[in-house]
Symmetry: C2
Subunit: 178 residues, 2 copies
Amino acid sequence: MVEETVQKETLYRGKVIDLELHDVTLPDGNDAKREIVRHPGAVGIITIDNDGRIILVKQYRKALGKVIYEIPAGKKEPGEDSLTTAKRELEEETGYQAEQWKEVTSFYTSPGFADEIIELYEARDIQESHQLSLDEDEFIEVIAVTLEEAKALLHQQLIHDAKTAYALLYLDIQAQQS
Amino acid sequence: MVEETVQKETLYRGKVIDLELHDVTLPDGNDAKREIVRHPGAVGIITIDNDGRIILVKQYRKALGKVIYEIPAGKKEPGEDSLTTAKRELEEETGYQAEQWKEVTSFYTSPGFADEIIELYEARDIQESHQLSLDEDEFIEVIAVTLEEAKALLHQQLIHDAKTAYALLYLDIQAQQS
């Protein structure tokens, strides 16, 4: 089923993504073009505070043209291992450090056109480090909500992205099993 | 928190995606650039056959460089409503029609750089229509697996995308509640 690249062109090199156009040979020998967005990969952190609430960040997303609430997340730096990214991003975006870390899963967000992979972690036993340090173009508010409050945000489409929707189902299953 | 576009440039218009570069004014008055991938939106169909198995499609994904198993899915045509897309894509990719349709949820896949939204449906009471009609550059195999078999595929990272990972948690919750 493999599609072999005959030729590729990098159409754009950006800060967050690159765009490549590949001429490929299909399994039947015919030709096709594939548009591929390259992304360094990201982590998302399902963060539970010491009262059992979920930590969310409220952020304007230009691509969507709206403000949404998401689990803390961020892009990997070149060569950085995922847990290091997770610890760094949690602290930078929320000012929290966590003692307990657990790998949850990983998934590609848009396999039809992008190689972005998100690795999800669960972080518990948190404390404030006061090391909040947002990127210069990041404007974020941090909130803590119960699972029921988070579900209400989902219903209002104020939670509206894949990693956070996944996180809520994951926590729902945990709640049912406990 | 809104970021106002001062100027935008469409860097690429493609078959699946367009790429825009926006110069924006940040909430603090500073400037920034935002790379935005435009996508028409897609549907994913959590399809359960009459033996309770999950219908998956096996497909090579050039962006990932590997074959993965996903729930049936596809892009919306201009002006098409989501349920119509869902029925069309299910039939084109798998040859099945379904009698029972239910909206599950929707989510943005990559809010940091793309406006792609996936609307998820659950389809049951299926029958073969023999109307399989793949796009000329699509090479797909259709399989039916139990939830346990699907979880094994997830463990092997042969299921490895956001919508299908979400679908498995969703079906897991249904199974626990029944």
